[in-house]
């Protein structure tokens, strides 16, 4: 307990930054992921190809490698300087977006074919089929797996600690400078993650129950 109370500043700073990084990357991954997801099911073949290449490449790249490109590679490009926090967040957004895109695509594909056929039979265009008929229904199927993607994103924020970003995963490195007990420190970090993830999982179950009957 002493380890926690003596270094509360570090823990609070670490988990605040993790929270900020998580919220920013969740929001932007949701936006980018829906665009990519729509690309993947669009009528235009080049658009589908771009979406597929994006998803397949990003999903087969380790997040740590992506962060290395951004955190260590980007500053060498001679572009406007950005801090490590921003660069790591961009990497996390690009990575998470590929998973969001897949969730959207399978959500739309899970809707009964008759829905699309009926919508098309009454003369709706692709855009209208999507907005008026498919997406509102897909939304329900999509929320639980989307929450799993976000839970993964929350845990993935810790990868940034390899690239000088102060967040929950980097608490232990700072604590070792203060000469604190690392085992206890890491157990506290693990406990806080456990609580956060359980909270998100409870939210997920709530959504699932809410929409299960329909």
């Amino acid at each position: 307990m002493q380890v926690l109370t003596d270094n509360l500043d570090l823990f609070v700073l670490g988990f605040t930054n993790t929270g900020i990084m998580f919220v920013i990357s969740a929001v932007f991954a949701l936006l980018l992921g829906s665009v990519i997801g729509i690309l993947r099911i669009s009528p235009s073949a080049p658009m589908r190809a771009v979406g597929t290449v994006y998803v397949n490449t990003l999903r087969n790249t380790p997040l740590a490698l992506l962060m290395m490109f951004f955190a260590l590679g980007y500053p060498k490009l001679g572009l406007p300087a950005l801090d490590y926090f921003t660069l790591a967040t961009v990497a996390l957004v690009l990575y998470t977006a590929s998973y969001v895109a897949e969730v959207f695509r399978s959500g739309v594909n899970s809707i009964d074919k008759g829905q699309t056929e009926a919508a098309r039979a009454i003369g709706l265009s692709f855009g209208q089929v999507m907005w008026v008929v498919l997406l509102p229904q897909a939304f329900r199927n999509v929320v639980p797996p989307l929450m799993s993607v976000f839970i993964a994103a929350l845990k993935n924020t810790t990868v940034a600690s390899g690239f000088s970003v102060m967040q929950a995963g980097a608490i232990s490195a700072n604590m070792s400078e203060r000469g604190e007990n690392l085992l206890v420190t890491l157990l506290w970090v693990a406990l806080f993650f456990f609580i956060l993830v359980m909270g998100l999982a409870a939210l997920q179950r709530k959504f699932e129950r809410k929409w299960a009957q329909s």
């Binding site: 009528p43 658009m47 790249t61 380790p62 260590l72 993935n156 693990a190 359980m198």
Partner: protein, 282 residues
């Protein structure tokens, strides 16, 4: 996967085709612009200079890269096998007829799944030595982390696989006098494994990607090497070339496994169609 979305739109007429061509052209143009910009920036900042890539032409360095690829695969294979074992163990615990055992094992599974893998590895590597565990090498930390995290994920996959089978399967097994273990081994497991194989392989891809976290506990895998060569000053600190070289190896390995996953998925789904047809004959 374009065939799967075919019912979303009509066969395009001339007008729709033109519109779709324009949209496709714009998309491609945007992508080309982005890629061209990145390549131009790489060129302008001298990342494509021969000097920066020179390091990777030395046979010594190439051998080192090969060795490191092997040690990456080594950690992955050992970690994956142990994870599968732990997954089965956690599954058996959760299926136990004793209530408190089930509850305990499901808490353990949930806990392992909720802790970020990196924190698990750091707990093993930096945490355990505090209480005098001297056996924790970087390899042990990476493999242990992979085992604990993926083991709990596998346990969930297995459980979902077994619960998705119709309950008539196990009831029929009990009816002919099989024990719990026999029902699980002879009736449920063979069917569940085939259904779950694609999911298991894609989780293995995740495990392979996660070996990249090893560089934070100083395990000599590909990213560790990329960082090492990338900071060699006498070759002009080629961090971007190093990341490109090591990254390509990682991506190639993962793509290969994903490809296998897709093939297996096709194979197992066509197989299950065949088994669905058999009862109709009888």
């Amino acid at each position: 996967m374009s065939y799967a979305t075919q019912e979303l739109f009509d066969v395009p007429g001339p007008k729709a085709r033109r519109r779709s061509n324009i949209a496709g052209f714009i998309t491609v143009a945007i992508v080309v612009l982005i890629v061209a910009f990145i390549v131009y920036q790489l060129y302008r900042s001298g990342q494509l200079d021969a000097r920066k890539w020179q390091t990777f032409t030395f046979p010594m360095v190439q051998q080192e890269i090969l060795r490191t690829t092997m040690s990456t695969m080594n950690a992955f294979i050992v970690g994956a096998l142990l994870a599968l074992g732990l997954g089965v163990l956690l599954l058996l615990g959760r299926l136990s007829p004793v209530r408190w055992v089930t509850v305990a094992f499901s808490w353990v599974t949930e806990t392992f799944r909720a802790i970020p893998l990196l924190i698990l590895m750091m707990l093993l590597y930096y945490g355990l030595p505090v209480i005098g565990a001297t056996f924790v090498t970087p390899f042990v930390a990476v493999v242990g982390g992979l085992m604990i995290y993926n083991g709990s994920v596998f346990a969930e996959i297995f459980r979902a696989g077994i619960q998705s089978l119709p309950s008539g399967q196990s009831e029929a097994g009990y009816a002919i006098g099989l024990t719990r273990g026999q029902v699980l081994r002879v009736i449920l497991a063979p069917q569940a494994i085939r259904n779950m194989l694609p999911t298991i392989i894609s989780q293995l891809v995740v495990a392979l990607k996660d070996t990249a976290l090893g560089f934070m506990v100083t395990y000599p895998e590909l990213l560790y090497l990329a960082k090492f060569y990338g900071t060699q000053f006498q070759y002009g600190s080629p961090i971007i070339p190093a990341a490109i070289v090591m990254g390509s190896i990682y991506i190639a390995l993962c793509l290969l496994m994903s490809f296998i996953a897709v093939r297996v998925e096709k194979w197992s789904s066509s197989d299950s169609k065949r088994t669905k047809e058999i009862p109709q004959y009888e």
